[in-house]
Symmetry: C2
DNA sequence: TATTGTTATACTCTATAACTATA
DNA sequence: TATAGTTATAGAGTATAACAATA
Protein backbone atom coordinates (compact mmCIF):
# COMPACT_ATOMS: atom_id res chain seq x y z
CA UNK A 1 0.00 0.00 0.00
CA UNK A 2 1.25 3.45 -0.86
CA UNK A 3 2.08 5.44 2.23
CA UNK A 4 1.75 9.22 2.04
CA UNK A 5 3.90 11.55 4.08
CA UNK A 6 3.02 12.01 7.71
CA UNK A 7 2.01 15.60 6.96
CA UNK A 8 -0.30 14.42 4.22
CA UNK A 9 -1.91 11.77 6.40
CA UNK A 10 -2.32 14.28 9.23
CA UNK A 11 -4.12 16.70 6.93
CA UNK A 12 -6.41 14.09 5.35
CA UNK A 13 -7.28 12.44 8.65
CA UNK A 14 -7.83 15.76 10.43
CA UNK A 15 -10.15 16.96 7.68
CA UNK A 16 -12.06 13.66 7.61
CA UNK A 17 -12.63 13.70 11.39
CA UNK A 18 -13.75 17.34 11.35
CA UNK A 19 -16.12 16.77 8.43
CA UNK A 20 -17.67 13.71 10.10
CA UNK A 21 -18.01 15.66 13.33
CA UNK A 22 -19.53 18.67 11.59
CA UNK A 23 -22.11 16.59 9.79
CA UNK A 24 -23.09 14.80 13.00
CA UNK A 25 -23.53 18.12 14.78
CA UNK A 26 -25.59 19.58 11.91
CA UNK A 27 -27.68 16.55 11.02
CA UNK A 28 -28.40 14.86 14.34
CA UNK A 29 -31.36 16.87 15.60
CA UNK A 30 -30.28 18.72 18.72
CA UNK A 31 -32.41 18.22 21.82
CA UNK A 32 -30.23 20.72 23.73
CA UNK A 33 -27.65 23.28 22.60
CA UNK A 34 -24.02 22.10 22.31
CA UNK A 35 -22.83 23.92 25.44
CA UNK A 36 -25.75 22.49 27.39
CA UNK A 37 -25.06 18.97 26.18
CA UNK A 38 -21.43 19.32 27.14
CA UNK A 39 -22.32 20.36 30.70
CA UNK A 40 -24.84 17.55 31.06
CA UNK A 41 -22.23 15.01 29.96
CA UNK A 42 -19.89 16.25 32.72
CA UNK A 43 -22.61 15.60 35.28
CA UNK A 44 -23.24 12.02 34.25
CA UNK A 45 -20.82 10.46 36.75
CA UNK A 46 -21.19 12.89 39.64
CA UNK A 47 -22.64 16.22 40.73
CA UNK A 48 -20.35 19.24 40.28
CA UNK A 49 -20.34 22.85 41.44
CA UNK A 50 -20.97 25.66 38.92
CA UNK A 51 -17.39 26.78 39.45
CA UNK A 52 -15.99 23.34 38.64
CA UNK A 53 -18.19 23.16 35.53
CA UNK A 54 -17.04 26.61 34.41
CA UNK A 55 -13.42 25.58 34.83
CA UNK A 56 -13.85 22.29 32.96
CA UNK A 57 -15.78 23.91 30.12
CA UNK A 58 -13.44 26.91 29.91
CA UNK A 59 -16.17 29.52 30.37
CA UNK A 60 -16.65 32.22 33.01
CA UNK A 61 -18.65 31.54 36.21
CA UNK A 62 -21.44 33.94 35.15
CA UNK A 63 -21.79 32.12 31.83
CA UNK A 64 -22.09 28.83 33.66
CA UNK A 65 -24.73 30.34 35.96
CA UNK A 66 -26.73 31.14 32.85
CA UNK A 67 -26.23 27.72 31.27
CA UNK A 68 -27.19 25.92 34.48
CA UNK A 69 -30.25 28.16 34.91
CA UNK A 70 -31.41 27.24 31.43
CA UNK A 71 -31.04 23.53 32.17
CA UNK A 72 -32.84 23.93 35.52
CA UNK A 73 -35.76 25.67 33.78
CA UNK A 74 -36.02 22.72 31.41
CA UNK A 75 -35.91 20.23 34.26
CA UNK A 76 -32.71 18.58 33.01
CA UNK A 77 -30.55 19.39 36.06
CA UNK A 78 -31.17 20.49 39.65
CA UNK A 79 -29.25 22.74 42.05
CA UNK A 80 -28.72 21.43 45.60
CA UNK A 81 -27.16 23.32 48.51
CA UNK A 82 -24.02 21.84 49.99
CA UNK A 83 -24.77 21.18 53.70
CA UNK A 84 -21.02 21.33 54.47
CA UNK A 85 -20.24 24.65 52.77
CA UNK A 86 -23.04 27.21 52.51
CA UNK A 87 -21.31 29.04 49.68
CA UNK A 88 -21.36 26.07 47.37
CA UNK A 89 -24.07 24.55 45.24
CA UNK A 90 -24.06 21.17 43.56
CA UNK A 91 -25.56 20.66 40.14
CA UNK A 92 -26.73 17.19 39.17
CA UNK A 93 -28.64 15.52 36.35
CA UNK A 94 -32.31 14.72 36.74
CA UNK A 95 -33.79 11.47 35.40
CA UNK A 96 -35.08 13.48 32.44
CA UNK A 97 -31.62 14.96 31.96
CA UNK A 98 -30.06 11.52 31.81
CA UNK A 99 -32.67 10.40 29.29
CA UNK A 100 -31.99 13.46 27.14
CA UNK A 101 -28.26 12.78 27.28
CA UNK A 102 -28.74 9.18 26.17
CA UNK A 103 -31.22 10.10 23.46
CA UNK A 104 -28.80 12.67 22.00
CA UNK A 105 -26.03 10.07 21.91
CA UNK A 106 -28.36 7.54 20.36
CA UNK A 107 -29.21 9.95 17.51
CA UNK A 108 -25.55 10.73 16.87
CA UNK A 109 -24.58 7.06 16.92
CA UNK A 110 -27.43 6.29 14.55
CA UNK A 111 -26.05 8.76 12.01
CA UNK A 112 -22.74 6.93 11.99
CA UNK A 113 -24.30 3.45 12.06
CA UNK A 114 -26.33 4.27 8.95
CA UNK A 115 -23.15 5.18 7.07
CA UNK A 116 -21.32 2.07 8.26
CA UNK A 117 -23.97 -0.26 6.88
CA UNK A 118 -22.74 0.35 3.35
CA UNK A 119 -19.09 -0.58 3.79
CA UNK A 120 -17.31 -3.89 3.24
CA UNK A 121 -16.10 -6.27 5.96
CA UNK A 122 -12.48 -5.33 5.20
CA UNK A 123 -13.19 -1.63 5.51
CA UNK A 124 -15.03 -2.27 8.72
CA UNK A 125 -12.00 -4.03 10.17
CA UNK A 126 -9.85 -1.04 9.24
CA UNK A 127 -12.26 1.28 11.06
CA UNK A 128 -12.28 -0.95 14.15
CA UNK A 129 -8.51 -0.57 14.36
CA UNK A 130 -8.62 3.14 13.56
CA UNK A 131 -11.28 3.75 16.20
CA UNK A 132 -8.99 2.45 18.95
CA UNK A 133 -6.02 4.48 17.69
CA UNK A 134 -8.06 7.69 17.32
CA UNK A 135 -9.56 7.26 20.78
CA UNK A 136 -6.05 7.02 22.20
CA UNK A 137 -4.84 10.06 20.24
CA UNK A 138 -7.83 12.11 21.41
CA UNK A 139 -7.09 11.37 25.05
CA UNK A 140 -3.32 12.02 24.92
CA UNK B 1 -9.17 -9.55 15.20
CA UNK B 2 -12.29 -9.30 17.35
CA UNK B 3 -15.05 -7.46 15.58
CA UNK B 4 -17.58 -5.57 17.70
CA UNK B 5 -21.16 -5.05 16.62
CA UNK B 6 -21.84 -2.38 14.03
CA UNK B 7 -23.63 -0.31 16.67
CA UNK B 8 -20.64 -0.54 18.96
CA UNK B 9 -18.20 0.46 16.22
CA UNK B 10 -20.46 3.34 15.20
CA UNK B 11 -20.52 4.65 18.75
CA UNK B 12 -16.77 4.32 19.33
CA UNK B 13 -15.81 5.80 15.99
CA UNK B 14 -18.32 8.64 16.27
CA UNK B 15 -17.02 9.56 19.72
CA UNK B 16 -13.39 9.34 18.62
CA UNK B 17 -13.97 11.64 15.62
CA UNK B 18 -15.89 14.17 17.72
CA UNK B 19 -13.25 14.19 20.45
CA UNK B 20 -10.44 14.68 17.94
CA UNK B 21 -12.43 17.45 16.28
CA UNK B 22 -13.23 19.13 19.57
CA UNK B 23 -9.62 19.16 20.68
CA UNK B 24 -8.47 20.59 17.36
CA UNK B 25 -11.05 23.36 17.59
CA UNK B 26 -10.10 24.16 21.19
CA UNK B 27 -6.35 23.82 20.96
CA UNK B 28 -5.46 25.18 17.52
CA UNK B 29 -5.35 28.91 18.14
CA UNK B 30 -8.12 30.54 16.16
CA UNK B 31 -7.17 33.37 13.80
CA UNK B 32 -10.84 33.87 12.89
CA UNK B 33 -14.07 32.67 14.49
CA UNK B 34 -15.45 29.29 13.33
CA UNK B 35 -18.30 30.78 11.29
CA UNK B 36 -15.87 33.17 9.61
CA UNK B 37 -13.45 30.39 8.78
CA UNK B 38 -16.24 28.32 7.31
CA UNK B 39 -17.30 31.16 5.00
CA UNK B 40 -13.72 31.85 3.91
CA UNK B 41 -13.25 28.18 3.03
CA UNK B 42 -16.32 28.34 0.74
CA UNK B 43 -14.75 31.26 -1.11
CA UNK B 44 -11.48 29.52 -1.83
CA UNK B 45 -12.46 28.16 -5.24
CA UNK B 46 -14.71 30.94 -6.43
CA UNK B 47 -16.50 34.14 -5.43
CA UNK B 48 -20.06 33.68 -4.12
CA UNK B 49 -22.99 35.95 -3.36
CA UNK B 50 -24.05 36.56 0.25
CA UNK B 51 -27.26 34.70 -0.47
CA UNK B 52 -25.42 31.65 -1.76
CA UNK B 53 -23.15 31.72 1.29
CA UNK B 54 -26.14 32.01 3.62
CA UNK B 55 -27.77 29.03 1.94
CA UNK B 56 -24.63 26.86 2.05
CA UNK B 57 -23.90 27.74 5.68
CA UNK B 58 -27.54 27.36 6.77
CA UNK B 59 -27.82 30.85 8.25
CA UNK B 60 -30.15 33.74 7.42
CA UNK B 61 -29.14 36.39 4.84
CA UNK B 62 -28.87 39.11 7.53
CA UNK B 63 -26.51 36.92 9.55
CA UNK B 64 -24.35 36.43 6.49
CA UNK B 65 -24.35 40.20 5.88
CA UNK B 66 -22.91 40.62 9.33
CA UNK B 67 -20.33 37.85 8.94
CA UNK B 68 -19.20 39.20 5.58
CA UNK B 69 -19.02 42.75 6.98
CA UNK B 70 -16.75 41.52 9.76
CA UNK B 71 -14.45 39.82 7.27
CA UNK B 72 -14.42 42.91 5.04
CA UNK B 73 -13.42 45.09 8.01
CA UNK B 74 -10.52 42.75 8.69
CA UNK B 75 -9.45 42.82 5.04
CA UNK B 76 -9.98 39.08 4.58
CA UNK B 77 -12.67 39.30 1.88
CA UNK B 78 -13.98 41.97 -0.51
CA UNK B 79 -17.42 42.77 -1.89
CA UNK B 80 -17.66 43.43 -5.65
CA UNK B 81 -20.75 44.55 -7.56
CA UNK B 82 -22.00 42.22 -10.27
CA UNK B 83 -21.93 44.21 -13.55
CA UNK B 84 -24.64 41.93 -15.01
CA UNK B 85 -27.14 42.18 -12.14
CA UNK B 86 -27.13 45.34 -10.07
CA UNK B 87 -28.90 43.63 -7.19
CA UNK B 88 -26.14 41.11 -6.67
CA UNK B 89 -22.81 41.34 -4.92
CA UNK B 90 -19.93 38.89 -5.11
CA UNK B 91 -17.78 38.16 -2.11
CA UNK B 92 -14.24 36.91 -2.70
CA UNK B 93 -11.12 36.17 -0.66
CA UNK B 94 -8.31 38.71 -0.53
CA UNK B 95 -4.66 37.60 -0.62
CA UNK B 96 -4.60 38.12 3.13
CA UNK B 97 -7.76 36.05 3.48
CA UNK B 98 -6.19 33.19 1.58
CA UNK B 99 -3.10 33.39 3.78
CA UNK B 100 -5.25 33.31 6.92
CA UNK B 101 -7.16 30.31 5.60
CA UNK B 102 -3.95 28.41 4.91
CA UNK B 103 -2.39 29.36 8.21
CA UNK B 104 -5.45 28.13 10.12
CA UNK B 105 -5.29 24.81 8.29
CA UNK B 106 -1.57 24.56 8.91
CA UNK B 107 -2.10 24.95 12.66
CA UNK B 108 -4.85 22.33 12.71
CA UNK B 109 -2.82 19.90 10.64
CA UNK B 110 0.16 20.46 12.93
CA UNK B 111 -1.93 19.38 15.93
CA UNK B 112 -2.70 16.08 14.23
CA UNK B 113 0.81 15.60 12.85
CA UNK B 114 2.25 15.95 16.35
CA UNK B 115 0.02 13.13 17.59
CA UNK B 116 0.82 10.89 14.63
CA UNK B 117 4.57 11.06 15.27
CA UNK B 118 4.20 8.72 18.21
CA UNK B 119 2.43 5.83 16.49
CA UNK B 120 3.85 2.70 14.88
CA UNK B 121 4.15 2.03 11.15
CA UNK B 122 1.35 -0.55 11.36
CA UNK B 123 -0.98 1.87 13.09
CA UNK B 124 -0.13 4.50 10.54
CA UNK B 125 -1.15 2.15 7.74
CA UNK B 126 -4.47 1.54 9.47
CA UNK B 127 -5.06 5.30 9.67
CA UNK B 128 -4.17 5.77 5.99
CA UNK B 129 -6.90 3.30 5.10
CA UNK B 130 -9.34 4.75 7.61
CA UNK B 131 -8.73 8.29 6.35
CA UNK B 132 -9.92 7.34 2.86
CA UNK B 133 -12.99 5.53 4.20
CA UNK B 134 -13.94 8.35 6.58
CA UNK B 135 -13.51 10.94 3.83
CA UNK B 136 -15.92 8.96 1.67
CA UNK B 137 -18.44 8.57 4.53
CA UNK B 138 -18.29 12.30 5.28
CA UNK B 139 -19.12 13.19 1.67
CA UNK B 140 -21.97 10.69 1.19
C1' DT C 1 -9.80 38.65 53.78
C1' DA C 2 -10.74 34.87 50.48
C1' DT C 3 -14.12 32.14 48.02
C1' DT C 4 -18.70 30.84 45.79
C1' DG C 5 -22.33 32.21 43.27
C1' DT C 6 -25.16 35.64 41.29
C1' DT C 7 -26.64 40.09 39.24
C1' DA C 8 -25.55 44.21 36.17
C1' DT C 9 -24.03 45.49 31.86
C1' DA C 10 -22.07 45.14 27.34
C1' DC C 11 -20.55 42.77 23.01
C1' DT C 12 -21.23 39.13 19.48
C1' DC C 13 -23.92 35.93 16.63
C1' DT C 14 -28.33 34.44 15.61
C1' DA C 15 -33.08 35.27 13.90
C1' DT C 16 -37.48 37.58 11.77
C1' DA C 17 -39.58 41.68 9.81
C1' DA C 18 -39.20 45.78 7.28
C1' DC C 19 -36.85 48.65 3.89
C1' DT C 20 -34.12 49.93 -0.57
C1' DA C 21 -32.58 49.01 -5.09
C1' DT C 22 -32.80 46.40 -9.25
C1' DA C 23 -34.93 42.88 -12.67
C1' DT D 1 -44.13 41.65 -8.62
C1' DA D 2 -40.14 39.11 -7.40
C1' DT D 3 -35.33 38.99 -5.90
C1' DA D 4 -30.75 40.55 -3.55
C1' DG D 5 -28.97 42.81 0.06
C1' DT D 6 -29.18 45.60 4.05
C1' DT D 7 -30.99 47.79 8.25
C1' DA D 8 -33.94 47.51 12.55
C1' DT D 9 -34.85 45.03 16.45
C1' DA D 10 -34.88 41.24 19.60
C1' DG D 11 -33.21 36.79 21.77
C1' DA D 12 -29.33 33.81 23.27
C1' DG D 13 -24.46 33.08 24.77
C1' DT D 14 -20.21 35.09 26.06
C1' DA D 15 -17.40 38.25 28.94
C1' DT D 16 -15.82 41.57 32.88
C1' DA D 17 -17.05 44.16 37.02
C1' DA D 18 -19.64 44.58 41.08
C1' DC D 19 -22.36 42.57 44.82
C1' DA D 20 -24.19 39.18 48.59
C1' DA D 21 -23.42 35.30 51.43
C1' DT D 22 -20.35 32.21 53.76
C1' DA D 23 -15.67 30.35 55.44
Amino acid sequence: MYSPSLAHLASDLRLACMRISRRIRFESTQLVAPHQFSVMARLEDKALTPRALASIECVSPPSMTRTVSGLVERGLVVRQDDPQDGRQVFVSLTAQGLLTLKETRRKRDAWMATRLKGISAEEREVLVGASAILTRLASE
